[in-house]
Subunit: 251 residues, 2 copies
DNA sequence: ACCCTACATACCGGCGGTCGGTTTGCATCA
DNA sequence: TGATGCAAACCGACCGCCGGTATGTAGGGT
């Protein structure tokens, strides 16, 4: 069987390189259209590789997921580790640094992050969402747990169960999505001030909840940060408008 | 086109009746094998109906999910409403009644409930899991939120944000699954006492967390209940052994 | 007698995945 | 340096099956 002469210029690549290239293409497609809507054929086209080539590197479509999530986890873990070892001081200081660091990071990457969760919460993407969140949680919970355990050892925190407290802190971000949704709706309809107040109120409530959870005096974990939120909401609203303009449906 | 004479005896049924029958069959299959592993053809066989018949009542496979989740939600909502209106007294009393009622209910239905979450957390069932949990949350959160708002009004509770507190309480049940898993492992390996202690410790910690969350003195929400947990673990271990014996894999 | 609708069957496009074959870089020789 | 062998990267036709549709039929209510 002769190879077609009209073949596009296709390099032979090192396994790792090819794997990454395929993963990149797949990742982009999934983010754009969602897990179920993207077929292997789509990935093949985007990565410019044949079916045989693809299945030489990946055992199944699910394998793409594993790879993508693994990369995400690495990133998240690295970020978390960096944040942990960055600041010195007592446990509360370090926790606050960790939290405001994560808020700042989210504000900096608001556009992509919002696009990500937007895709992840679309119907048909439950698998992606679940895996990504599980990975994130698995990366963050130990860091927080360690931080809290430190705080208990040095007497800063007073907590019934470090693991439980860590899980609850992470768990708060679940519900935050809805609040962010509502705040974004207010923003795009022009009422940025109200959106900002709404978000800030939620974050203040979260901060107060943290205080109680960790056995600290009220105000120890200040999560209020209106300027940062304002910046984040503006960026999100901007990217929202952008994605509204090219809603062709893809394919 | 003539109808096959060797047709099995098939009644013509009222739409609702048929819908329920299909839903029943599908539900059983999904619980047994998981969402992705069950094909429409399987459902057709189990419900003894043709493809045309099926698609007369349901528009797609996803529609089965919607139906099943709707039924679950109805049940959950009814149970929650019943629990809410059952007891009188101040908010704390009612909250405690609600919580121990739900524990008792879970202990009573431990076997089925465990089988359910076991299926729901299997890979390939993320969609089912997500929808079921969302529905459960949507049913329970408002009840808790109302309860907490009542408590704030009458001065029993002191909480930054009722909605947030309600979400956190529900959120705790996420992580409980893992603890239950570990406790079950201890139980089946013979160490029921240790498993019971482990579970009870977690529940005490959860109770203490509730106290803080709601601004109550420690010990106000006592979640320790070793006898009930012992009963639950025994039943779960039993059903675990049972399901181990017939692990043919289906199909 | 009519008709609406509950139901049946044949069929379709496309999906994820397989398989036998072909190319290509590279180590190993003369 | 060039010929040779070989593993692995890569190809694309093909397969089985799944969710979904099109079209035809029967049967109870009026």
């Amino acid at each position: 069987m002769k190879r077609d002469d009209t073949r596009s210029t296709r390099r032979r690549m090192a396994p790792d390189e090819r794997r990454e290239a395929i993963l990149d293409a797949a990742n982009a497609l999934f983010m754009e259209r969602g897990w179920e809507a993207v077929t292997i054929a789509d990935v093949l086209k985007a990565a410019d590789i044949s079916k045989g080539g693809f299945y030489h590197h990946f055992s199944a479509k699910e394998d793409l997921l594993t790879g993508i999530v693994a990369r995400m986890t690495e990133q998240a873990l690295a970020a978390a580790q960096a944040a942990r070892s960055q600041t010195a001081g007592d446990a509360l200081t370090r926790l606050n640094a960790f939290l405001i660091g994560s808020v700042r990071w989210k504000a900096d990457n608001a556009a992509e992050l919002w696009g990500l969760t937007d895709v992840l919460t679309k119907p048909g993407n439950e698998i992606l969402y679940r895996r990504a969140f599980d990975a994130m949680e698995a990366a963050v919970v130990p860091v927080l747990e360690g931080l809290i355990a430190d705080g208990m050892a040095e007497g800063t925190f007073d907590v019934p169960d470090a693991r439980l407290a860590a899980e609850m802190i992470v768990c708060l971000s679940h519900g935050r999505r809805r609040i962010l949704d509502e705040a974004l709706a207010m923003t795009v309809s022009g009422d940025l001030d109200r959106a900002n107040d709404y978000l800030d109120a939620r974050m203040r409530a979260e901060g107060a909840t943290f205080d109680r959870l960790l056995g600290l005096p009220t105000g120890s974990v200040p999560l209020s940060n209106p300027q940062e939120y304002r910046r984040m909401l503006t960026v999100m609203a901007q990217s929202h408008d952008d994605s509204d303009k090219d809603n062709d449906g893809g394919r």
